[in-house]
Structures are given as C-alpha cells and as structure tokens.
Amino acid sequence: MTFVLLLFPSLLAALLAYTVRPYRVVVGWANAWLSLVSLGAALAFAALVLAGSEAPTFGPSEILRADGLSALLMVCVAAVAALALFFSPGLGRESQYDGAQLRRYHVFVNLFIFAMLLAVSANNVGIMWIAVEATTIFSAMVIPLALTKASVEASWKYILICSVGITLAFAGTVLTYLDFVALSGRAENALNWPVLLSAAPGLHPEVMRLAFVFLLIGFGTKAGIAPMHTWLPDAHSEAPSPLSAMMSGVLLAVALYAITRWKVVVDAALGPSFSNQLLLLLGLFSLLVAAFSLVIQRNYKRMLAYSSIEHTGLICIGLGLGPLGVFAAFLHLVCHTAAKSMLFLLSGEVLHRYRSTELERVSGLLKVMPWTGALFMGGILAIVGLPPFGLFISEFALIRAGFAAGRPGLMAAVLVLIGVAFVALLRHSNRMLYGAPPEGVAIGEIGRWRIAALFLSVGVLVVLGLTLPAPLEALLNQVVKVVAK
Amino acid sequence: MKYLLEVAQTVFALALAPLVVGFVRWLKARLQNRRGAPPWQPYFELVKLFGKEMVVSKEASWLFRCAPYIVFVSTLAVTFLVPFLFAPLPFDGVGDLLAVVYLLLLGTFFLALAGLDPGTAFGGMGSSREMTVAAIAEPTIALAIFSLALGAGSTNLGRIVTQTLGNPAAAISPGHVLAFAALFIVALAETGRLPVDNPATHLELTMIHEAMILEYSGRYLALIEWSASLKLLIFLSLLANLFVPWGVATDFTPVALAVAVIALLLKLVLLGFFIAVLETRVAKLRLFRVPELLGVSFVLALLAVTSSFLLR
C-alpha cells in the first residue's frame, strides 16, 4: 500500500498535467502538494526499516522492495522532488514559458520523478534498469523547454550518451542473468535482487567481472563518472533549474544506487577487491577531471555540474573503501543531495535575474538578492566541504575510511584534488557574490516562502554538520549492512 | 659601599668620555702633522653647548626634544653594567651583554627617529644609514658575545671578566683573538669612526651620524655629543676589559682600584692610538662597501665561535 502512495502521486500528477489543457497554475500547485504524499510514503519506509521489519515487498513476484538502501534513496528522491516541484515554473503568475511548454514540463517532470522512485524501489534489477533508462527519456524531454541551439544540442548529447551507456548496463544485466541461468536454470524471479544475491556465490567469477564492467560503465554514464560524464555539464547547464536540481541532486544518486546494488551482487561472487579497485580508479579519475575542469570555468551552472562530478567521484571512492567508506559515501550522498539541489534551484533564480549563465555577467549577488546570495554562499561553502555543513563531516569520514583501509597515498591524491576544486569553486563564486552588480539588474529578493524552503536545506546541512541524528545513523548502518556485510 | 663605588665608576666614565674623543682627535692631528686642538677640547665644547640656547625646528615634535635625554640616559645606563674598573659590578645581574647591546640600540633607535622628525632630507638620510649600519652590525655583536659567553659560561660581563682572569690562557685562544678583531670593526661602525663614518666631517653625502643630529643645538647637542663619546668609551672599555681583563679590580682595596684606573687608561691610550693610526691610514668607505666590511667582521666572529667550539 505504501508503495502505491510512493509511486502513484507522481503518475497521477503527470496524468493531471496531461489532461488539463491548457496548463493552469493550479495544476502546478496540485503536483507540488501531491509530491509531499510521496515524501510521506518514503519516510514511512524509512521508519519501517528502522523499526527493524523485514524489507517490505509488493506486487507479483515481489517486484518492488524497500530495504534500508532503498528507503534512504526514496527519502532523498522524494524530498528533492518535492522541493523542486515547489520551485517549478508555472507556479507563479508570470513565467518565461508558455502554456504548452509548462504542460510538457509538468507531464515529463512527474514521469521523471516516477521513474526515479521506481528505480530505487524496484526489486527486480531488470525493472530497475528500465526505470533508469526511462529517467533519461523523460528528463530529456524537459531539457529543451525553450528550443535553443544549446538546449537541443545538450539534450541530444544527453539522450544519446545516456542511452548508449545504459544499454551497456543492460548487457551487463543480461550477462549476469546468463550466468545465473547457466547455474540454476531459468526462473521467473531470477532477476530479483535477493534471489540474485543468494545465488551470487556460485556465479562464474570471470563472467561476473565482465558483467560488472558493463554495469559500471553503463550506470556510471548515468552517474556522471568520468570519462562517461561528458553529457552532464551540458545537460545540467541547459535544463530548467528545478530539473537540474533533481538531476544533480538525485538522478546521479539513483545511478550510484544502481551501481551499489550490483556491487553487492558482484562482491558476493568475487569478493570486494575487484569492484573496489574499479570504483577507486574511476572515482579518482572523475575527481581529477572535475577538479581541473572547475579551474577554468565560465558558466556557473556548468561549474555546479562539474562539482557534481567531483562529488560523484568522491562517493565512488567511498564505495570502494569497505564498510566505513560505504557509510561515509552514503552520508556524503545525502549531504550532497541537499546542498546541490539547493544550489541549482538558486542558480535558477540567479539566471532569472541576471539573464545569463556566464560567470562574468554575474556579480554582486549579495547586494542584488541578499538572502538568495547568502544561501548560495552557504551552498558553495557546503559543497567545498567547510564546516558547519554536513559535507565537512562526510568528507572527513570518507578520508578517514581511506586511511583505515590503508590507502594513504590515494587519500593524499584525493585531498589534493579536493583542494583544487575548493579553490576553483570559491574563486568563481566569489566573483558572483561580491562586487558591484552589473547595470540593469533589478535589486530585490525572491519570494519569502522560497527562501524559507531553502533554509530548510541549509538547516539539514547544518544539523548534519554538527551531529548525526540517530534515525539517519541507524538508516546508514542499515545501508552498510545491505552493502558491505 | 659597592653601590657607591659603582656610581663613582659611572661618574668617572662620564668624565673620562670626552677626553677619549679629544685624545684620539689630538693624536690624529699629530699624526697628520697638524698641531690640533688639545685633548681636553671636548670639555670646552660641552660647556659651550650647554650654555647656548636651543634652536628647535618648527616641524619637530616632542620626540625631537625627548630623544637627547633618552639617548643620553640609555648610554648612561649602560655604564652601570660595564666593568670599567672592577668586576663583578653590583648591578651585574641587572643586565648582561645582550642587554648592553639592546640598551645601546634603544639610543640609536630614538636618535634615528629624532633625525627623521624635523623632516629634512639630511636627517632622513642619516637615520636611514645609521639604522642600516646598526642592523648589519648586530650579527657580529651577537656572535662575538656568543664566543665570549662560550669561554666564560655566561653572558654577564662580570662573569666574563672574572672567568678570563681565572683562566689567562683563554685570552690568547684563537676564538678570543678573532672575536676581538670582529668586535673592534663593529665598534668602529657603531661609534661612527672611519672607515664607516667620518666624525670630523659635515660633507653632505658621506655623513651618517652627523647628518642625523644636524638639527640639534645647544643642550640637546651637548647631550648627544656626550653620549656619543660615552659610547666610544664603552666600546673601547669592553674591548679592553673583556678580552684583556688584567688590571680590573676584583676587590675594593684602594691599590687595586688605582691599578685598575691606570690599567684602563693605558689600554685606552693603546686603543686610541690604534684608532688614530687607522683613521689616518684609511679612507672612508663608500656607504655600500660598508656591508662588506661588516661581512668580514661577521665571518671573523663566526670563525671565532666555531673555533671556541672546537677547542672547548
């Protein structure tokens, strides 16, 4: 039942947006409020998991399932989705988009949310793959809301690269299934994750190695792991900001979730060292590419996108560092989700006011919009890993895990690269925040409620920076139990 | 009693100081085949200056008026620490050799400030040069102290003197000799003698000390001149009594004190003669060659310390 409450609202919202024609403001609001139902359901799952109940399942051949890992991701996805929907275009009176565009936006964004929620609640890894593939398709439809050369280019690259990548992931899925069939014959629920996991120790290591490479490359494309990240800066910078917020905040997390799921299976077959090494390798490479791409950057949304790649890299490294690392990685994921979604939403407001995504054209943000500017600064400080924000703690935990895993050299490299990203990000954001505002930019704040909503994000980050609430800690421990026994 | 003697020694030093300057000047004149003013001429000059009115620049501040006193007092304070006639002094524990150096630096510091105060170009030039020389002379002084302290096991002047007296062989050790040479060069620089500075000239571009005190007159100038001569006496006495301490009284019998006075005068005559000869023989160095000279002294001091180590 809770699964219905989780998944159904976004489908309903998409349907609503589809049937009401032309678009009305009330639809946008209805969708936003509906998303809170999903959030409630996600929280309910988290509570269930914390209460210690066996992972609840749903549907024919247990097609949906919610263990700790899923619950954590559900909460993240639902929360960011709700936040993004409240910031969506078409909720106020004036909008830069026309009715048809708004309608298309609301239909596909809700489908996108549905696909993400499905991906994290699917028990069947095949369904999970389908849902992840669907996220690409739906989100690609929203990127070029206003048809410009840049947005069309970005969305074409996005859909092609991600489709290719994700197809490769399917090849990996098939290879695993093939191995499973070779081991124990065909079975209808063979692709269910627990079934797969229990069979995993008997699977052929050589096949599983190949399969994991396909899966890692495939889902890694979606997660923005270098060198498959190339679509990410383009798509994030051209998408409407609420969509960017979701893509950067949770879509990457969903893809990482898929990788984690598969990692568990592969580890059961191979032992953890193979997948860990690949994750560390690709994570470090992502960090390298992202950090140095940040050094010379002219566009603030792209800057944020590269920062997402950086954090994806960090999370990958965390995943490759054993239980402590997994704990840190998912804490990092939660914090990054909160911070980055807020930053992208704010960047939407900045873009709206300055009418440019060029760093050079944006200055004096703190004067133009004091609260927005302050929030933006808070977000930047958070993502570069300064206290009192959660990422400081999670990065600390991550680095500590690296030292505990006996990889000081790797951690040294990580620290240096984080440092490069740190300076680069602060340099660019300083330019945005301070100085004199350019001529012709109106001075004044955005809506009070939006500010308040984003202060929630900051609040979450600060709380995570100073303490670790017991429920979250328990949930993360559940995740660690699922991922790295 | 001890304290009275100490005060008496200071008064003696105060009284002796102008004579030393006058003696060197007279000797120099004789060496240059001039008749020269008598050695006691500086006393007349002091009296004359004390009797004159003070002309003070409009631009100068209170600092200009205070500086002569500070310079004089800091130099005077040093005389309480230096064993001119006997050792250990009762005030020995108040300040050691480092304190002596820094007290002298205190005077230099304020004199340099006073040079800047009236805002003339010459004053500034003098201050700048004075501070440059003082700064680059510092390492040598410190090392010379190091070397002396190594031998004596203390930086306090009384201890150094008594230790050297107790161990005569130390006085002719290479470390001692080298340190003496180094400190001698520094003493020339610090007291504004040739080849670093020419005390006898007011030639605009070469003067250092004189440029600084150009604006002073009357009592102020008297105080400054007096403290300058006192500084010369202090340095010469330090050279004389720290390195060659024989004659310095260690008890307070009149005989010992009389011997001490005579010994000190003899050593001062010797040193004064040496300075006079030197000042007759060498020309003033260009300002930017001075660091080279002080560099030589630094190397000498460094060698002194090193050899003290190796022979310890």
């Binding site: 069947n124 593939e133 690609a140 048809l147 092609l160 490769l168 290879l175 093939l178 069939v181 070779a182 | -």
Partner: protein, 219 residues
Amino acid sequence: MYAALFSQLTTLGSSGVLLFGIALLCRRSLHTFVDAFKWQSLVLAALFVVVGHFGGAPELYFVAVVFFALKVVFIPRYLERLARRVSAERESEPYVNITSSLVIASLLVLLAYAITRPVVLASQLPTRGGLPLAMGVIFIGLFVLISRKNALTQIVGFLVLENGIALLAVLGTFGIPLIVELGVFLDVMMGFLVMQVFVYHIHDTFESIDVEQLNQLRH
C-alpha cells in the same frame, strides 16, 4: 542431432545478424542503411522463433511478434518518413572511411571473441556459439555511433546496439523474463520516439541533422 541443428541454426542466425551489422558500415544512402537494419532485425526476429521452438521457451514467440512489429515494421517506416521530412537522403562523409571501418569491425569482432571466452565457457546452452557474435554486434553498434555524423544514422547505430543485446539475451538465456522484456520494448519505443522528436528539433534549430555542428557546448 536436434541439439546440433539448433546450435547450427542459431550460429547461422547470429552470423546473419552480425553480417547485416557489418553491411551497415558499407552503406552510404540512408535508405539502404535503414534497409540493412530492417533485415538485421528480421533475422533476429526469426532467431527468436528458432530459439523459442528449440529451446522450449514459448513466450519467445510472443516476443518475436512484438519485436517484428517494432523493429521491422514500425521503426524502419518511421525512420524513412523522418529521413524524407528532414530531407536527409544521403549521409555526409563518416569520420572513418568504409575500408577502414571494415578493418576496425573485424578487429572488434576478434576482440569480442576474446572477451566473451569465459562467458562461452560458463554457458552450457547449445546456443552459446553465437555469444561472441552478439558481443560483436554490440561493438559494431557502438562503432557506428562513433563514426557516423548524421543524427539518423546514430539512431540506427543505437538500435543496432540494442539488437546486439537482444541477441545476447536470447542466445545466452533463451530470453529474459517477460516482464523485463516488455519493459525494454517500452523503453525502446519511447526512446526512439523521443529521439525522433529531437531529430526534428535539431533540424528546426540547426537546419540540418548533421551532428557535427552540435559542438557549441564545450568545457
């Protein structure tokens, strides 16, 4: 005897699929390009039937029908229409000329053989002989995507890539669970529809569907 026939049929079929994939590389006009893809899909659909029959997986008949409808009828027709609409009858020069393409394709097939060795060893199915060929099709699909400049040919390349995986699935497992298979078809269809929408967008904004000009977003 029965098993040997099955094995030979599937190997033959997979070779056919691979051959059409390679044939794709020598095609210049869009029409023939789509044709090659159509034939490839047709062979693949037939292979579904064969595996369904010999392997005792009756749901594969159903899959074959859907596959046929989608990839042999629906998509090629749509592609043709699309090509006419955006007036892209001929492709511009590819990055790699045909001769080199063929050499690279053969190397890719060799690589596929080398890499799938453990998979072939792991599988006991009579169809396992075709697995390297399926991997080869995947690589060739990727290669088409990389070397062709036209948005439409890229779509075809992508579809070939999918065909490769479908081949892998059917040979290695006699078809993945039906519900997943249906989901995949849904995705393929939606993906294709969205892509063709974008082809229109590209055509509208750039006045050509040459992907090479999509290079404004950098760094």
